[in-house]
């Protein structure tokens, strides 16, 4: 279990990282905390010729910042750092509720928020959260920068809309509408494991959004305008019937559908309860 040979570039600046990416393209991979890419290297599932370490690159933000519209999280921000942000519980309560479910204290200390999103594991929490909240991925290359909405970013299992020469330099989580309620729950075999099914819900004055992870090959997001508690069960039941959940030795499609019905309904109910008038 040793990685194949690669060249290691400790990028000092964003520009340097982008220049290497521009030249090497698919032969290069960026690494920050290494909590996703590290195992893939050792399993030789990823065999890049060049590994670009961005953990010290100037020009990539190492702290989260807040504006009236967004929470902005740069590619050097670890999950632990974001979770420790004192404003998180008040301003992004869904992240505050869901992020403790990611791995363990040890993996969150190393794992980067953007790294997990770029890795796009269909059962991971952060891609689900970005999708549910309707966030945006900021892709930067040597030739420019573009915004990719979450709904267009996740293409499939470990697959995103990033081009080979692009780096995910930041993500933005939009500010919650005033009075919105949120809830998160997941079922995993053990504490800290990837979810069998994860469900995130937000409820605001105009309706309800449900996000599901672990079910199909990318996060599923459904919006119901005007949905209230009495309609939640039927809405989720109909959604569950439409889905094509994956099967694996720990959980078959039938179980995943059951969890969608039961915890989907549950998180919607809780989000609605927590919603309040402003």
């Amino acid at each position: 279990m040793k990685p194949a040979q690669f060249d290691y570039v400790a990028a000092e600046t964003l520009e340097e990282a982008l220049a290497v990416l521009a030249e090497a393209g698919e032969d290069a991979r960026a690494i920050a905390g290494g909590q996703s890419l590290g195992p893939m290297l050792n399993l030789r599932l990823a065999q890049p010729e060049i590994l670009i370490d961005i953990t010290r690159a100037e020009g990539i933000e190492a702290g989260a910042s807040w504006s009236d519209e967004n929470l902005h999280v740069g590619a050097r921000v670890s999950q632990a750092n974001l979770l420790a942000d004192p404003a998180l519980a008040a301003r992004q309560p869904l992240l505050a509720a869901a992020m403790p479910w990611i791995g363990h204290v040890q993996t969150r200390a190393r794992g980067a928020v953007c790294g997990s999103i770029a890795h796009a594991d269909p059962a991971a929490e952060l891609p689900l959260l970005l999708a549910t909240l309707g966030g945006v991925a900021e892709a930067t290359s040597a030739t420019g920068k573009r915004d990719i909405p979450a709904e267009d970013f996740f293409l499939g299992m470990f697959e995103t809309a990033l081009e080979p020469e692009e780096l995910l330099t930041a993500v933005r989580f939009p500010q919650m509408p005033a009075g919105a309620g949120v809830a998160f729950h997941e079922v995993a075999e053990r504490h800290g494991d990837f979810a069998i099914v994860a469900a995130a819900a937000t409820a605001d004055a105009s309706g309800v959004t449900l996000g599901l992870g672990g079910v199909e090959d990318k996060p599923i997001v459904r919006r119901w305008d005007g949905l209230d508690a009495s309609g939640a069960a039927d809405a989720v039941e109909a959604l569950a019937a439409e889905l094509d959940p994956q099967s694996d030795p720990k959980a078959d499609a039938r179980y995943r559908r059951r969890l969608v019905r039961l915890i989907g309904r549950d998180v919607i109910g809780k989000a609605l309860e927590r919603r309040h008038a402003v």
Binding site: R44, E189, H191, P249, K250, Y255
Partner: protein, 804 residues
């Protein structure tokens, strides 16, 4: 040295200072000789395939690669491993012409480092011709099944049937006959440190030396030596001082030791191999999976009068020594903790396209107690009795001790009903029952499970020969016993050095031996130094040496106890001669040896103990000037099997009675364990802290097997559990507190009075938890692992009536 060093105290472990400060010396820390090569193993991606040409030219062209060793190279220099049953199944440590399980070694790549070796492994081209694979042991017995070993013919590796008492009449007379079918899955004990070794070959003397944490049984050493074609004394095994857990699994390093010894010979250089986690999960070994059909003859009041076992044991692709030992370890205890006089057993051993099996904590116990204790519960339901009453009605009574089981087991001691009563009382069963009743009124799914079991301690080296017919046994000569050796020496400054071949894997053997010896010699613990690592070229060892079947506290500590007494008797005679008194009048206390009736007259222990070195010429007449005593201990209750196939498989037997309460989340099928209580009688406890640790650890491994662990294969033979993401194990978050209720019936067989206790809860926890789940869901039986998806499907089908 802190703590109470008396027997039964909990002194700090002498092992811990080094381990906790990063100064442990594990196999990967051992110095590597100059010129050593690092091995990577190319493994078969197919569960079953003919192997044609192997083209290693591209791999050999990689700078730093020294050699590529194939199955044919190895077969030319070795013989197949000896197995204990007659069969034409040939097992080499690497596939020769045919691979029979996914992950079987196909080639060994030797290079200057492991990275290069793994790079080169990707370049070895193997011409595979895939064959059909069979993974289900019953399907493997079908005439149409693909045959793994054409030389042997068929996939049935061995079969024997046994009759004890008169089971036919008991079944004919039974008021009720109840049965159960169990498909027990595969799991692995998964130590934190994987396997590893450093192999060398010295052609001038034709001596192989392998440094490895091989944990025994050292009966496998001659098997390895014969495979290498050398006498035992030319295969030297040296264990490192520390090993990061084994739970049986590191017995599985034996074939790799042979493989890398030959690779070192071919390459002409030492070879180091460290198993990685993927290799470990795929190919280190596994507990056996087993298909069991068990039938009980039962009286109207719930007394079981006979059992009829039909067992199909799946040992994987080969009979890897010591298999089929998993099947025969429990042969003498197939009636469990119950007084059941009549017994029929049919044992079939089957090969399939899966990893060969081997030692794992609980060795053969879970596969027996799962069906037995599920059946006891089923009897209770059928007879409308309380499951605990069925257990109580059938337990062996204390006045029957020592109790002879129908198949020859000699249970040495114990008060089973009292242990049950104590656990029920102190563990708070009444409270759990009240909670269950209250929660059920609220529509909750709450269940209580029970399991009773005997825990065999100190394996009889002869039990495996029960797999042979009595006639075959006569030909091969009687085998029985469990020899433990301990060398106890007084050193020139009067300290005491102890050496045992117990190859600990982290348990703390050295600490316990200090307790035992300090207690005999009445000296300070700091005066005693114990070495428990082994060099078969220098130290005293025998085939029973090693670390398995809970033999340490009973057997090894007995040998050390005996060695310390030999030294004490010697010093008693020396002191008596010097003081001109009767040996009976000599006493030992507080580091002194003195006259009992005149304590002022005597010697410092240190001075007296050093005399054999300094004053050999002045020894009193008749007293040899020996500072070293080699004690050999083997319990005489461990005889070879008799002509009627009676076998006492173990020297002593602990008793366990577990119960638990758990709640099932009706929505998700997740299990929340409310309380788990283990009533344990392991004889005299030598070290309380370690005893608790062993019980807790055994429980958590049983919990893993119950809830989530399975070495799964798909129908085509592809292995599905190759990483720890696919093979989840319980962590501290998933492990509830274990409530242990100790009873204490000293074993009359061991000199310490101790029995083993490290394996018992691994045997009982799976079925105890399964019985509780069955109770919660109102069902008869369930298979492992108890994954939430499986439980949720049962809830949908049986409780919600939903069939989507």
């Amino acid at each position: 040295m802190d703590g109470d060093w008396g027997i039964g105290g909990s002194p700090e472990r002498v092992e811990d200072a080094a381990l906790l400060t990063g100064r442990g010396r594990f196999i990967d820390d051992m110095a590597v000789p100059a010129g050593a090569l690092h091995a990577a193993i190319l493994r078969s991606p197919y569960p079953h395939a003919e192997i044609g040409d192997i083209d290693a030219s591209a791999a050999l062209a990689v700078p730093g690669v020294a050699a590529v060793v194939t199955g044919r190279d190895v077969a030319a220099l070795t013989r197949p491993f000896l197995v204990s049953v007659r069969s034409a199944i040939e097992h080499y440590p690497i596939a020769v012409d045919r691979a029979r399980y996914q992950g079987e070694p196909v080639a060994v790549i030797l290079a200057k480092d492991r990275y290069i070796a793994e790079d080169a492994a990707e370049l070895v081209e193997v011409d595979y011709a895939p064959l059909d694979a069979v993974v289900n042991p019953e399907a493997a017995l079908d005439e149409s099944a693909v045959v793994l070993h054409p030389k042997h013919g068929g996939n049935l590796a061995a079969e024997r049937s046994f009759h004890y008492g008169d089971p036919e009449s008991a079944f004919a007379a039974a008021r009720h006959v109840l049965d159960i079918e169990v498909h027990y899955p595969r799991s692995l004990a998964t130590p934190i440190e994987c396997m590893g070794l450093l192999a060398e070959y010295e052609p001038a003397e034709d001596v192989y030396t392998v440094a490895t944490h091989f944990q025994g049984p050292y009966a496998i050493q001659p098997v390895m030596a014969m495979a290498l074609g050398v006498p035992s004394n030319r295969l030297r095994i040296k264990t490192p001082p520390d090993s990061g857990g084994s739970f049986g699994v590191k017995q599985g390093v034996a074939p790799y030791a042979v493989l890398m010894a030959v690779a070192a010979r071919i390459a002409g250089r030492p070879v180091k191999w460290i198993e990685d986690r993927m290799e470990h999960l795929t190919a280190a070994g596994s507990a056996t999976n087993r298909v069991v059909r068990l039938k009980a003859a039962v009286t109207a009041d719930g007394q079981v009068t006979a059992l009829d076992w039909d067992q199909i044991e799946d040992v994987g692709a080969y009979l890897k020594a010591p298999e089929p030992a998993t099947l025969y370890r429990m042969h003498c205890a197939m009636t469990g903790a119950y007084d059941i006089p009549n017994l029929a057993i049919r044992n079939r051993v089957v090969v399939t396209n899966k990893t060969p099996t081997g030692l794992n904590r609980g060795f053969g116990g879970p596969q027996v107690f799962y069906p037995l204790e599920q059946l006891m519960r089923r009897i209770a339901i059928a007879l409308d009795m309380d499951p605990l009453d069925v257990i109580r009605r059938n337990l062996i009574q204390p006045d029957a001790m020592p109790y002879m089981t129908p198949s020859g087991g000699r249970y040495d001691s114990g008060d089973y009903p009292a242990t049950v009563a104590k656990a029920v009382q102190e563990g708070g069963l009444a409270e759990l029952i009240a909670r269950r009743d209250a929660l059920r009124k609220d529509g909750k799914l709450y269940g209580i499970g029970y399991a009773a079991a005997v825990e065999p301690t100190i394996s009889n080296m002869g039990y495996i020969t029960t797999a042979l017919t009595p006639e075959e046994r006569v030909k091969s000569g009687p085998k029985g016993g469990a020899l433990a050796l301990a060398a106890v020496s007084a050193d020139p400054l009067g300290g005491v050095s102890v050496s045992v071949a117990s190859t600990p894997q982290g348990q703390g053997h050295r600490t316990v031996l200090i307790q035992v010896i300090a207690d005999v010699l009445k000296i300070a613990p700091g005066q005693i130094q114990v070495s428990a690592d082994l060099d078969t070229g220098r130290d005293a060892w025998s085939i029973a040496s090693g670390n398995y079947s809970c033999r340490f506290a009973g057997a090894v500590a007995s040998a050390a106890h005996e060695g310390a007494w030999q030294l004490r008797r010697h010093l008693t005679r020396l002191a008596a001669a010097r003081l001109d008194c009767d040996p009976e009048g000599i006493e030992f206390a507080d580091g002194r040896v003195f006259k009992a009736d005149d304590p002022g007259q005597g010697f410092d222990f240190r001075r007296l103990a050093g005399e054999a070195h300094w004053a050999a010429a002045t020894m009193p007449q008749g007293l040899p000037a020996t500072p070293t005593f080699l004690a050999a201990w083997s319990p005489d209750v461990l005889q070879p099997p008799d002509e009627d196939d009676h076998i006492n498989g173990s020297a002593a037997y602990g008793f366990i009675f577990d119960f638990c309460g758990l709640e099932i989340d009706q929505a998700t099928g997740e299990i929340r364990i409310d309380r788990y209580v283990s009533g344990h009688d392991a004889g005299r406890v030598l070290h309380q802290g370690m005893a608790f640790g062993q019980t807790q650890g055994g429980f958590v491994q049983g919990l893993g097997a119950a809830l989530m662990e399975e070495l799964a294969y798909d129908e085509a033979g592809a292995f599905l559990a190759g990483t720890l993401a696919d093979y989840p194990m319980p962590t501290a978050c998933e492990a509830p507190d274990l409530h242990v209720v100790h009873s204490d019936t000293p074993s009359p067989v061991t000199l310490t009075g101790a029995k083993g206790l490290g394996e018992g809860t691994t045997m009982t926890a799976p079925v105890c938890l399964a019985n509780a789940v069955c109770d919660a869901l109102g069902i008869d039986t369930i298979s492992l692992p108890l994954r939430p998806a499986k439980i949720a499907a049962l809830i949908e089908d049986r409780i919600e009536g939903r069939t989507t």
